[in-house]
Symmetry: D2
Subunit: 256 residues, 4 copies
C-alpha cells in the first residue's frame, strides 16, 4: 500500500509583491520563479523528493522521507537566498489527492496566501517512517518524429498540452492521482497502487479523447526519487520492446 | 500594424541526452531545464525580449530588436554554461502564428531535433528595424480569494490549467495568437492588432467554456518588454476600476 | 584529536577549455566559476561540509562525513549541469596539511590536470566513521569603522588581503593549517587541535607583521559545518565581550 | 589616454545580516555571495563591463559605457532576486586608483556601509561618452607543469597568492593600477597607459620578490570587455611565441 507524503510550497504574499510599488519586469519574475523552483528541486531532491513547478507560486512536492527539521532547513535556505519567503504544509494520505487536500487545509487554516502577516508557516505531520510512493512516468510515442520535426513548435506544444490536460483530469477524477507536465513530452503522475489495467485504460482514454498516444513506466519506492527512477527504467523497457505499460519489479530502497 | 519577431529555441538532441548512458535523476533534469530557462529569460530580457518556457526543450521567444549577432551571443553563452547546446530559428510575421511557423520550418530544414550532428543551428531573418508587438496579460479575477484560499492546491491548479488551455485554443484558432501560462493565475498572449471586442469575446468564451473569469491588460510596443509593461499597467487599472479589458494608450518605446 | 578529511576538487583540463577554440569572454568564465563554486558549496554543504573557492579551478573542501558514493553523486551533478567535469581526490590526515597533500597526490598519480584523457577521477579513502574537525573563524576588529567607511575600497581590500596572506603563511608554516579568505573581513582556518595560546600568537603575529587586528572564534565538531557554527558563535562572544579568542565549549554533533 | 570608469558595488548592511538573528550557515553565505557575483558579472558583462569579486561584500567593477539608468537597472535586478540590496558609487579618473577613490568617497558621503537606513544609494557621474580602458591579463608560466601537477594544492595556491599579492602591491604603488586574482593562475590589472617597459619591470619584480614567473597580454578598448579580449589574444601570442609581454595592436571597439 502506498502512503504518499505531500508538501504544499507557497510563496508568501507573492501576488502583491509582483506589482508593488509598481509591476516588476516579467523577465525578472520569470527568472525568480525558475531559480526558486530549481533550488527547491535540488533541496528536496537531496532527500530524494520530487518538486513540481505547478503554478510556481504554489508548488507541490512529494516528500516521503523528509521530517519537519528538514523542511525547516529548506525554508531557511529560501529566506537566505531570495527576496521572498515560503510557507510549507505537509500531510500524508492513502491517495495523493487526500494528501494534497490535507496539506492545503493545514496552510489555509493559518491564514490567506495574501496575508502579509502570515509568513513562513510550517505545519503538518510527516510520516515517522515507512510510507511508499508510486510514480508513473508517461511520454508520447515518437514525439520527435511525429510532432517536433513535423509541426510548428506552438502546434506541437498545444497538442502535448491537450494530451497532458486530458491525462491530468482523468487520473485525478478516476484515480485520485496528481499529474504534472515536466517538460518535453513527459508527464509524471503520482499515483496510489494502480495496476496495469488502470494504466492501459488511461492511455486508451487519452488516445481517444485527445488523439495522443502515450506509453508509461511505473515504479514504487520509499521515496519519489527511488520510485521515479524505477519508473524511468521501466519506460526505457517500453521503448526497447515497443510496449505501452511496463511496471518495475521489486522496490528500490536507496538513492544512488 | 504589428510585426512580431519570434525565435524558436531548441535544445539539441535533448531527449537522448536525458537517458544516456542511463536515465538521469529527474531532480537534476528539472534543475537544468529551469536554470537554462532562467538564463535565457535574462539573456533575451536584456534586449527587452520575452522567453516562454513552453516545453522546456523547445522554448518560444519574442525577440523584436535582437539581430543575428545577439542571437549568436546567446547561443555562445549557453554552450559556455551548460552541458547542452541550443539551436535557434528566427522569423517574423504579421501574426505570431505565422512567425513561429516559419521559425520552426527554418530549423526543421536543418535536420531533426534528435540528429546528433545537427547542433547550434542559427538561421533566420531578423527584422532590420521597426516591427511592433502586442501583448495581452490576462489574470483570473480574485484567484486568491476564490481559489487559492478555498480549494486544495491541485484542484486550483487544475482549474487554472483548464482556463489556460481554453484560452490558448481560442486565441490560436480565432486570432493566430500564442498564449503561455507564466505562473500564478497569469497568462500572456502574444497577439496581433486585436481590438477591445476581440478580448471581450475571449473572456466570455473562457467564462462560458471553463467557468473561469478573466480580465486583461493590453499593450503595444517596439519590444515584448515594452508592450508587456504597458499591458501590466493596464491590468493594474482593471484591478483599480473593476474593468475587464484595459488597453494601454500610446506606445512605449524604451525599456525602463 | 582531530582527523580532517579533505577533498581536492579539480576542474578537468580547464585551462585549455578557456581558450579553445579562442579565448572565452571573461564575464562568462567568471560566471561559470562562481556558479560552480556556489553549487559545490550547496552540494557539499548538504552533508555539512565546507568548500573553499581557492583558485576556482582547484577547490579545497573539508568533507568529514561524506563517503565515496556521495562524492560520486556530486561529480555526477556537475557533469549534468556544466560544460566541464571535475576530478576528486579524497584523503584524511592528523593535520589538514597532511590531508591535502595526500588528496593531491592521489589525483596527480592519475595524470596531469591538463590531460584531456584524465577526467572524472574519483580516488581516495574516506573515513569510515568519526573524525573531528577544528575550525577557526577570524575577522578584523571594527573593519567597517576603521576601513570600509574610511579608506578607498581597493585600499581596504589590499589591507585585508595583506592580513589574510600573513595569516595564511603563518598558520601553514607554524601549524600545518589551511586558511581561506571567505569574503568581507573573514578568514577561516582549518586547524588541528590548536589551543588558546596558539591563536593568541597568530593574532599577535598578524598585528605586528601586517598591522591588522584580528579576533577569532574556534569550534570543534564531527563535520566542518558543526565546527564552523560553534566557531561563529564563539566569534559572536568575542564581539560581545571584547575578547580576542573564544573557544567553543563542547562539541556539536549534528547539523541544525 | 585612458579614462577608466569604476563602480563600487557594496552590499547594504551585510555584516549584521549575516549574524542576525543568529549566525547563518557558512555554506548559505558562500552561495549567496557567489551567485550575486555571478549575476553581477552577467549584468555588467552585458554592457561589456568587468566585475571583480574583491571582498564579495564590496566589489569593484569597470563600467565604461554604462550610464546611470543602466546602473539603476542592475540595482533593481539585485533587489528583485536577492534578500539583500546594493549601493553603487560611480566615478571616473585618469588612473583606476583615482576612480575607485572617488567612487568610494561618493558612497561614504551617503553614510556608513553598516547603516541600516543607508540603502540602495546610486551616486556618481558616468562618462558621457568615450573614455578608454587598458587591461593587462597576467598568468603564470607553465603553472600546471611546474605547480599544479607537482606540489600539493594548497602549496600551489599559496604560491599563486604570493605572486598575486606581490603584483597587486607593486602595480598599485608604482602605477596606480588595480589588480585582481580571477582564478587559476590569472590576474587582471586595470591600468592606465602603461608601456612595455612598465610591464617588463613588473614581471621582473614579481620574479625577484616572490619567485613566480609571469607573462602578460595587454589590450586597450572602449570597454573593459573589449580591452580584456585584446589582452587575452595578446596573452595567447605570448604562449605561442614564448614572449613575456605582448601588447595588442589597435583598439577594439565593439563587443563580439
Amino acid at each position: 500500500m502506498t502512503e504518499t507524503q505531500v508538501t504544499l510550497i507557497q510563496i508568501d504574499n507573492y501576488g502583491p509583491w509582483t506589482v508593488a510599488p509598481e509591476p516588476k519586469r516579467e523577465a525578472d519574475l520569470q527568472m525568480l520563479q525558475s531559480r526558486l523552483y530549481a533550488d527547491l528541486s535540488q533541496l528536496v531532491g537531496h532527500h530524494d523528493g520530487y518538486v513540481f513547478s505547478t503554478r510556481y507560486d504554489n508548488m507541490i512536492a512529494v516528500t516521503n522521507g523528509l521530517d519537519l527539521a528538514e523542511h525547516r532547513r529548506i525554508q531557511d535556505a529560501v529566506r537566505n537566498r531570495y527576496p521572498v519567503t515560503v510557507s510549507l504544509g505537509v500531510a500524508t494520505g492513502a491517495s495523493p489527492r487526500d494528501a494534497i487536500g490535507e496539506a492545503t487545509a493545514t496552510l489555509q487554516a493559518a491564514g490567506s496566501a495574501q496575508d502579509g502577516e502570515r509568513t513562513e508557516i510550517l505545519r503538518g505531520d510527516p510520516l515517522r517512517e515507512g510510507g511508499a510512493v508510486q510514480i508513473a512516468h508517461f511520454d508520447v510515442n515518437d514525439a520527435t518524429g511525429r510532432y517536433t520535426d513535423e509541426l510548428d513548435a506552438f502546434e506541437v506544444f498545444r497538442r502535448i498540452d491537450r494530451g497532458y490536460t486530458t491525462l491530468l483530469e482523468y487520473m485525478y477524477d478516476s484515480h485520485d492521482s496528481l499529474s504534472f507536465f515536466i517538460g518535453g513530452d513527459n508527464v509524471i503522475s503520482v499515483t496510489a497502487d494502480l495496476d496495469r489495467p488502470a494504466f492501459e485504460e488511461a492511455i486508451d482514454h487519452v488516445a481517444e479523447t485527445a488523439g495522443i498516444d502515450l506509453k508509461v513506466g511505473v515504479g514504487r519506492g520509499r521515496t519519489a526519487g527511488d520510485a521515479g527512477m524505477v519508473a524511468k527504467e521501466a519506460l526505457e523497457r517500453c521503448r526497447e520492446h515497443g510496449t505501452r505499460v511496463e511496471i518495475g519489479a521489486g522496490e528500490r530502497t536507496e538513492g544512488t
